[in-house]
Amino acid sequence: MRPLVHAVGVRKAFGLHEVLKGVDLSVEAGQVLCLIGPSGSGKSTMLRCINHLETIDGGELTVDGLHVGYERRGDVLREIPDREAARRRAEIGMVFQHFNLFPHMTVLENLVEAPVRVKKEKPAAAHDRARELLNRVGLADKGEAFPRQLSGGQQQRVAIARALAMEPKLMLFDEPTSALDPELVGDVLGVMEDLARTGITMIVVTHEMGFARAAADMVVFMSEGRIVEQGPPKSILSNPTQERTRAFLARVL
């Protein structure tokens, strides 16, 4: 069976600076994968390439067999129009470091906006599911609040619920706890661990080694635009074989 996310030799440069220097990555459906590595190693860029927030310069990247922003014709990957790319992105949820909730909408409105406008769901059905999701992230009573009335941890949990409201087959997390006060990190990680147990496929860029150890099926260590080492969390985090991995872990653990 083909993996859900499949990347072969992905390259990406910003100007002359090459951020991804040929990344191969496979994520099976239902797996939780943690991308770790020093800042500037290209892990966030890799994540943003997966849902085509960034274009790629070389290689091939598919989600469920489809190139998210491209169409393959023979040996050429042709970028597809925005509308078509948007349709494919709708099946991939993303959670950002700075939450990026829509500040002019209430929490509930944040959750139903995309299902109603993009997937053309009935507002009543979308609202029902939004309430259910808020309940799941422990914020059942915050539906009418505006994002800025919530703490950072609450906002991030709303952001997770907003992504889940589109019923994605893949969830991407871009350093979801890095902007949070330390005492709020636990709530968000708790929600993510619960989510991991539901069997949804997750790719998480994180510095939280505890989370990686507890929830990940696979840990991938990136450095300078390449994957240095990958494997189950126990072996990568406890017995890394590469010198660079060891040096990084010594600094963060």
Partner: protein, 322 residues
């Protein structure tokens, strides 16, 4: 000295706190009041103000029609200018350098040329193009043909001049508003599968409104006063009507006062409207306590022009930097 009096004071009794006195403020206030009273007295008693003539014309039919025309010009020119300006702003941000460049040229020309010159130009359009024809391009058959003088009436010239000029200003305001929205907002919408146009309409523009509405409110007020310029091409708005009357009766000052009174009333009304509209678009982003005096211009200057930026910065989620 202070120490000895403190020592003699009962240590347990509460002390009285006395704020610093400001005798200068009282004197200053008195002088200003005195001058104002004198100004009012002279205005009221100088017979050459002809207040009876003012009251005779203030609600006269001709003046009210002029007032209605001023309002109509303001509304139509603002609506056309805003629609066109918003379109121009979106095009200005287009990735196509030719489109964005041409909009830049438009903004430059219509902001650089004085409005009075533009109005005279549109008024004299018939001299440039005696007839306006709609035909198949490159010398094809003629579809429709109008004499320019008939198509470009003084009203059309006035509306063209005002709204094309206004669009250039609105374009810059809207562009700045769009750019003020955190790029993370666009990304979040994109990641949810929202296409570009939907993102612009539902996520970016509503947030940009917060930065756009206060200056547009000012533009409406400015436009209301600017319409007086079209009196030069004989559009019968408020000022032109007043001029027509005093050209006949020689009651120049009273009629200019009539016009001024109406301009003051309109400005005050628009200012109050502006603050309620601003409140509407600040949804989800305002401080919880509201300043009750927002409609007053001095207070407005402090509560809406500078602090909203800092309110937004200190209270909203941190901005994404990349």
């Amino acid at each position: 000295m202070a120490q000895s009096s403190a020592a003699s004071h009962d240590e347990t009794a509460p002390l009285t706190v006395r704020p610093l006195r400001h005798p200068g403020r009282w004197i200053g206030g008195a002088v200003v009041l005195l001058l104002t009273a004198e100004l009012i007295r002279s205005t009221a008693t100088n017979p050459r103000f002809e207040w009876d003539v003012v009251s005779e014309y203030l609600f006269s039919r001709a003046i009210l029609v002029g007032l209605a025309n001023t309002l109509q010009l303001t509304v139509v020119a603002m609506v056309l200018g805003t629609v066109l300006g918003t379109g121009l702003a979106v095009l200005r941000l287009s990735p196509n350098p030719v489109v964005s460049g041409m909009v830049g040229v438009y903004v430059w020309v219509f902001r650089a040329a004085p409005l009075l010159v533009q109005l005279l130009f549109w008024y004299n359009l018939a001299a440039l193009y005696p007839s306006i024809t709609l035909r198949v391009p490159f010398g094809g058959p003629v579809l429709v043909k109008f004499p320019a003088e008939q198509l470009v009436s003084v009203w059309t010239a006035a509306l063209l001049g005002l709204s094309l000029h206004q669009a250039a200003y609105i374009a810059e305001i809207v562009r700045a508003g769009i750019l003020s929205v955190d790029p993370g907002q666009r990304e979040a919408a994109t990641a949810l599968g929202m296409p570009r146009t939907l993102t612009l309409r539902r996520i970016v523009l509503p947030q940009a409104m917060r930065a756009i509405v206060p200056p547009i409110g000012n533009e409406v007020i400015r436009m209301m006063k600017t319409t007086s310029l079209v009196s030069i091409i004989a559009v019968p708005e408020l000022l032109n009507t007043a001029q027509t009357i005093y050209a006949r009766t020689y009651e120049t000052i009273p009629l200019l006062i009539v016009a001024t009174i109406w301009y003051l009333v309109l400005t005050a009304t628009l200012t109050v409207l502006q603050s309620s509209v601003e409140h509407r678009f600040g949804r989800g982003l305002e401080r919880s306590e509201r300043c009750p005096l927002r409609a007053l211009p001095q207070v407005r200057a402090r509560t809406t022009s500078a602090p909203p930026r800092s309110v937004a910065d200190e209270s909203r989620t941190p901005r994404v930097k990349r």
